[in-house]
């Protein structure tokens, strides 16, 4: 059986809207606000119903413009690797510091995307991040926490 992915997304959105609506009804409001014409849960409740309405319509109505995606030509592996690198970057940036994590993130991203020009890869990671960091930290006065640079005495 051929499943229309747009319909599947609409079904997921329908379920999400139902969950959103349920959560909207659970929002705790002040006792004196309970019967007010408008309280913290009013707008989300309308949104929940709107989500159910539009995704429901999309599910019921025929879909003449079916989108066909050629999954075989898509680069899932490289995309997944890049997402994982970005997650690792997010997980280590506070503990290790901006300079080292950002430089390594850039260097490894270039590598996994197939780049092998080592000098260019290096120049566009470590010195590039150092220059950008100087712009943010030194010129624009935006504080960037960096335990690594602090530990080697480069940053105060």
């Amino acid at each position: 059986m051929n499943i229309n992915t747009t319909k599947v997304i609409s079904l997921l959105f329908f379920i999400f809207s139902a969950f959103y609506l349920y959560t909207a009804y659970q929002i705790q409001v002040f006792a004196f606000d309970e019967n007010a014409p408008f309280n913290a849960r009013t707008f989300p409740i309308y949104l929940g119903y709107a989500g159910l309405f539009f995704s429901g319509l999309k599910l019921i109505l025929p879909d003449p413009n079916t989108i066909k995606v050629q999954h075989k030509t898509l680069e899932y592996k490289k995309t997944a690797i890049l997402i994982v690198i970005a997650i690792i970057y997010g997980a280590t940036i506070l503990e290790v510091g901006y300079f080292l994590t950002t430089s390594l993130f850039l260097f490894s991203s270039y590598y996994f995307l197939g780049e092998r020009r080592w000098v260019l890869m290096f120049l566009l990671s470590f010195p590039f991040v150092a220059a950008f960091m100087y712009l943010l930290h030194g010129v624009l006065d935006i504080y960037l926490r960096d335990p690594f640079l602090q530990s080697i005495g480069v940053m105060g």
């Binding site: 002040f30 408008f38 539009f54 003449p64 890049l82 997650i87 780049e115 566009l124």
Partner: protein, 501 residues
Amino acid sequence: MIEGILIGLTTALTLQNILMVMLGCFFGTIIGMLPGLGPMTAIALMIPITYGFDPATGLILMAGVYYGAVFGGSTSSILLNAPGVPGTVATSFDGYPMAQQGKAGKALAIAAWSSFAGGTLSAIYLLFLAPSLSKVSLSFRSPDYFALMILGLTAIAAFSSKGQFLKAMMMVVLGLMLASVGQDSLSDITRFTFNNMNLTDGISFVLVVMATFAMSEALTIILKRNDPTSAAKQVSLTELGSIKINKEERTKLYKTIPRSSVIGFLIGVLPGAGATIASFLAYGMERNIVNDEEKEKFGKGSVNGLSAPETANNAACSGSFVPMLTLGIPGSGTTAVMLGALLGFGVQPGPRLYMTNPEIFWSIIMSMYIGMVILLILNLPLIPYIARILAVPKNYLIPLILFFSITGIYVMSFNNFDIYLMIGIAVVATFMRLYDFPMPPLILAFVLGGLMEENLRRSLLLSNGSWEFLWDRTLTTCILLTTILIVVWHIYKTMFKKTKG
């Protein structure tokens, strides 16, 4: 008024103030180009510096930064499809496809000329209409604002959906849902945070825009690397093309710019509406006005489609100064930051500003025009150099886009939760983009969500919970009727097309 203009010119044309406009435009362009760092960040960064100057000079510097950052934002919209500010989201609809076709230089030149013309025309409107326009914006009440926002969201869903209206409406609802996360503005009750402290303040706009545009664009490029159709597109990205605008394109601009500048200026005057609604409405209006042949080009690199939002967002920037200077109500987030700075100078904006500090009022208006001229002189010759960013190979450009996106979020909150959230939203957005779910309606809904709830709250409270406010005032009814007309017309058009087919 002549006396006021002369006072303004005398103040704005001092060597120090011209230098300030130039510096402001230059730094604004650079900062605005970096995805994640928009005019608000740029102006906020300038506030401590401006306190060293007199109020007029300080505000002139900030106005220069504002225009520069808006232009810089357009540049990143066109070259990277990464709008740093909501006002330039609509610019990317046709600007980015033009860049993909190897016409990046032309797209940037059209954006520069449209910005210049939009800003110039709106500065003229501002001169003559400021006093009476402040009265018009005062007459808008909460139900009118609510109706206007419904109109804006419906219009963007109808016009950006390419025949998939329901998909666009689902994205509108999703955007409003994302905007509802965090503390309720009136009662401070937390909603949809699931006891996670990181969500208490809600989801930041920059995070959503970076995730749905810059990051998901980068991921889509990698994902479709082996797709023969998108590979062809990427090759052409490295070609800059000429910055020359031909006669046919000039003729189109002559028609688009005046009407878009009027829309932009009028929307900009309304407090809270600002450049975003202006650019989306101008884009939608332009798409409706042009002939069928031109309409087909929208979203694929149309000159009108690029010029309209670019003209309107700059016109709205000038328009948004009207409520700030005459009423003390900021017309946009950026002018709200400027209002804070103005109060810091000890200047109280309002109707009396004309009388108490005429040099400030008029010098800002005059410096707006000077700023536009400088922006054009500065940016047009630099276009070939700015566009060099396209020559960067994809293996380097993609990680750099991800790097700018993540850094943009990180420097705002210093919190890795925001990075995870951005990656999560970007992954979902990438998947939805594969199936043609449009992102612009989500962004506009996200920006307007808080304001929409606030105006609905006021309207319902004033009418004791009754929905009669929707037809109590003629203005509200007119706006809602326009919304209904758009929906009906859109459905009719789709059905007519199908029958024809």
